[in-house]
Every structure is written in structure tokens, then in C-alpha cells.
Amino acid sequence: MPILPLHYMFLSLTLFCIGIMGVLIRRNAIIIFMCVELMLNAVNLLMVAFSKMYVDAGAQVFVFFIMVVAAAEVAVGLAVIVMMYRKVHSVDVNILNRLKH
């Protein structure tokens, strides 16, 4: 069975949905953050597959930019998580429910 573009699409969709499940079922803020990274990587994989399909370098440049945004996001996000840990001594996202009260 030859490898079709659909195989790459299914693989990247599976990784993306695993990331979504992780965001939904975990309470640790760091794990949730890692699942966001997983989703970004799933999108990157699909972009590279499209770049191969259409023989276009633009998609790979966009993967490069997605990596840039992910790196910037991790820097700010981990700083926020560290600050949250300093305030409430936990990274449990269920504690952050002050808007509810």
C-alpha cells in the first residue's frame, strides 16, 4: 500500500485530537501547555506534507514561522505558570476559578 497524502492527514489529525483530549482531561497547567505544543506540531506536520504535495517552499517557511511563534509562546507561558505557582503554590488549573465567585 503506497503512502498517500491522506495517511499524513490522518496522522496529523490524530495527533491534533490527542492534544485536544489532553487539554480537556488534564489539570496540570504544564501538561496542558505541552498538549498545545503537540497540536502545533501536528499542524506543522500537515504543512510539510502539503509542501511535498504541491512542491512549494512557502509551506515550509510557514512551518518555520509557527516554530518562532511557539518558542515565543513558551517563553511567556512558562513565565506565567511560574508566577502562578508563586502565588498559589500549585499548577492546578482548577484553582484558578476566581471569576466564578
Binding site: 491522506l6 492527514m9 480537556l24 489539570r27 518555520f64 505557582y85
Partner: protein, 170 residues
């Protein structure tokens, strides 16, 4: 079934298995290690897709820099104990069902789509020479803007992460 197909399936199994390990393992350190393994599998896929430069950059930036940052934060905050409280069974089930439903809908919608076939001949577009030309001619403005983004992210991380000044505390 050629070597390409075998490599594809092995890398696919590694990627999906390790991604499941990320969300299922109790210990955050194990999650980080599983995520690094997933990134390596994805880099292998990039190599199969003739994106050599992105494969290397993926390993250096993600596995080398971002995940080390995660490991540092986990170890600094001493979170490697298995003390994370779990969500309720019902909430977990709802999360899995909604994620699975989304996967099902997307797969069903894209199953019959028509795509051009993957070019089996190796091409040169993934090499750094070609990518650099495209990046610095066609995409030079986004490249410069991303440097501003990095600068602001750096300043933002420092401002957020620094200790609060006790004399100016509100």
C-alpha cells in the same frame, strides 16, 4: 512494501503512542520525555518528506530548547511528585468523547477529498539554500516582524517573571 513505507508506519506508531503517553502518564517528567520522543518521530517524518532543514530545526528548537525549558520549570517547581489531583471520571470521559468526536468528524469530512499524489522523486525545496532564498526574498517582512515578536516575548517573560517589588506592591 518498500523501506519508505516501513519507516512511515514505524514512525507513525511511535508518534501516536508517545503522544498518548504524554496525556496519560501521571508524572510530568515522563510526559516531557514522551513529548520529546514524539518530536523525534515527527522529525523523522520531515526527513521522509524531504524537509531536511525543518527536521534539524525541529530537533534543535523543540527537543533542544523548548522541552529543556519545560524540564527546568518542572524541576525548579519540584513538580515531579505524583500529586496531581485528577479530574472526575465524568469530565475525563467527556473530554475523550469530544476529542474523539472531533477526530471522527474531521476524518469523515476529509476521507473523500482529492489531493495530488505525493511526489516520489526527491526534491530540493527542503534544503537550506532554497528555503533561505524564499525566506529572505518572498517572506522577508514576516521574518523581520518575527524578530520584533521575539524581542517583545523576551521582555514580556522578564517582566512577568521578575520578583515583585515590595515597595511598590499594590
Amino acid at each position: 512494501m518498500g523501506i519508505y513505507d516501513i519507516a512511515f508506519w514505524i514512525l507513525t506508531v511511535i508518534a501516536i503512542g508517545c503522544a498518548l503517553g504524554v496525556i496519560l502518564s501521571r508524572n510530568p517528567i515522563n510526559s516531557v520525555l514522551f513529548l520529546i520522543a514524539t518530536f523525534f518521530a515527527i522529525s523523522g517524518h520531515y526527513l521522509l518528506l524531504n524537509a531536511q532543514f525543518l527536521a534539524i530545526v525541529n530537533i534543535i528548537v523543540y527537543a533542544g530548547a523548548i522541552m529543556v525549558l519545560f524540564l527546568f520549570v518542572i524541576m525548579l517547581m519540584n513538580l515531579n511528585a505524583d500529586v496531581e489531583p485528577q479530574k472526575g471520571r465524568l469530565v475525563q470521559l467527556a473530554g475523550v468523547v469530544s476529542g474523539g468526536a472531533l477526530l471522527l468528524v474531521l476524518l469523515a469530512a476529509l476521507r473523500t477529498a482529492k489531493y495530488p499524489t505525493l511526489e516520489s522523486t526527491p526534491n530540493e525545496i527542503g534544503l537550506i539554500q532554497n528555503l533561505g532564498k524564499v525566506l529572505f526574498t518572498q517572506y522577508v517582512l514576516p521574518f523581520e516582524i518575527s524578530s520584533v515578536l521575539f524581542l517583545s516575548a523576551m521582555i514580556g517573560a522578564i517582566v512577568i517573571g521578575k520578583k515583585e517589588d515590595s515597595t511598590h506592591s499594590a
